[in-house]
């Protein structure tokens, strides 16, 4: 009797151990799988969107067709991360000049409440005349964030200890090819030369 309980116990522990190990392995493989997908351009980043640019003109995912595009999601109330990356994006466009002739950059806000088209018009132009500011309704922005797997979260003034609310956001610059397919992502602080080289290499 006691032996049966002992063996049952050992068997249960064994199953738990196996499941635990399997979960651990799966967890470790996930980022690797994502990286592999990215490397092979298969990552499911991007999709349809319907937004408005800084001139008030509607812009959809069709804007990516036939262009080599950099996409950056951020907000203009951010004083240090976003300007640094937008500066690099502007420098990238300068470095490219007309090679390729169809390079473009979009700055899509994750803070549509404050980043109206009018406000973005005065903002993106500070960095480069070729950067297109993009905004929309909160629902439209939520939808595009989901398509592009962008993380952002409003943090109340109270929680951040500040005067006004802030927005936590993933700071990645995305590269898309002329078919509107995701190519790769650059981290915050990337150098313009690296982005320019990658844009030139896009077929």
């Amino acid at each position: 009797m006691n032996r049966r309980i002992l063996w049952t116990g050992i068997a249960i522990l064994g199953v738990i151990g196996f499941l635990g190990a399997a979960l651990l392995v799966a967890d470790h493989l996930r980022p690797f799988q994502a990286a592999q997908d990215q490397a092979q351009g298969r990552a499911d980043i991007g999709g349809p969107f319907a937004l408005t640019d800084h001139t008030g003109t509607p812009i959809t995912d069709a804007a990516l067709q036939g262009k080599v595009s950099l996409l950056y999601f951020g907000y203009s109330y951010c004083p240090d991360i976003c300007p640094t990356d937008l500066q690099s994006i502007g420098e990238t466009l300068d470095m490219l000049g007309t090679d390729p002739p169809d390079a473009q950059a979009l700055f899509i806000t994750v803070d549509p409440e404050r980043d109206t088209a009018e406000h973005l018009a005065g903002y993106v132009g500070l960095f480069h005349p070729g950067i297109r500011g993009v905004t929309g309704t909160p629902e439209q922005i939520e939808a595009v964030k989901k398509e592009f797997r962008v993380y952002s979260k409003k943090v109340s003034a109270e929680e951040a200890g500040t005067t006004d609310y802030l927005v936590d956001h993933s700071a990645f610059i995305y590269l898309f090819d002329r078919q509107g397919h995701f190519v790769r992502v650059f981290g915050h602080g990337v150098q313009a030369a690296e982005m320019a080289a990658a844009m030139k290499a896009v077929k």
């Binding site: 203009s76 109330y77 951010c78 004083p79 240090d80 991360i81 300007p83 640094t84 937008l86 500066q87 690099s88 502007g90 404050r114 009018e118 406000h119 005065g122 903002y123 500070l126 960095f127 993380y151 943090v155 951040a160 200890g161 500040t162 005067t163 006004d164 802030l166 936590d168 956001h169 993933s170 700071a171 990645f172 981290g187 915050h188 602080g189």
Partner: protein
């Protein structure tokens, strides 16, 4: 280059060296800059390196006539997510300069009365726990201006070794 950079830094350091009357210690403010803002921007930021020659002190608050209020903020990068948060104070100790730079600690100006334009000068009053008030003039640079390379290469001009 290093020699030149060091002496350049020391020159600007001595120009900006300010003595806190109360503590007798000297607060130094170097590599200060701000970034140009959009015409409709409500916020701006200022960056600088703060140094102290003896003891310790704390930057408690900042004010400027060009903004309704100013806050001390930091940016935490976690898994590629930028998270900006207020900090109560910025502690300083002798020989360990603290860099306020994009992507980290910064002074956030809130409720700008006019946009900051490149070439302008931004007046700030820094209030320290021991040194009291220190007035600085911060040059406004481009919208995405970065710290001068010399500042980060030096990794802090520790002590005043000549």
């Amino acid at each position: 280059m290093n020699f030149f950079a060091k002496h350049l830094a020391l020159a600007s350091l001595s120009m900006l060296a300010l003595t806190g009357m109360a503590s007798g210690a000297t607060i130094t403010v170097t590599e200060a800059f701000s970034r140009a803002t959009a015409p409709t921007a409500r916020v701006g930021a200022a960056f600088m390196t703060l140094g102290l020659d003896q003891g310790d002190d704390k930057l408690l608050s900042v004010s400027s006539p060009v903004a309704e209020t100013a806050e001390l903020h930091t940016h935490i990068m976690e898994n590629g997510v930028a998270q900006m948060r207020a900090v109560d104070a910025i502690p300083l100790s002798a020989g360990a300069p603290v860099e306020l730079k994009p992507g980290g600690l910064h002074i956030m100006l809130i409720g700008l009365k006019a946009p900051l334009k490149a070439g302008d000068t931004l007046p700030l009053t820094l209030r320290f726990e021991k040194a009291g008030e220190v007035a600085v003039s911060v040059p406004v640079k481009g919208p995405g201006a970065r710290p001068a390379p010399a500042a980060s290469d030096q990794g802090g001009h520790s002590g005043h070794q000549h």
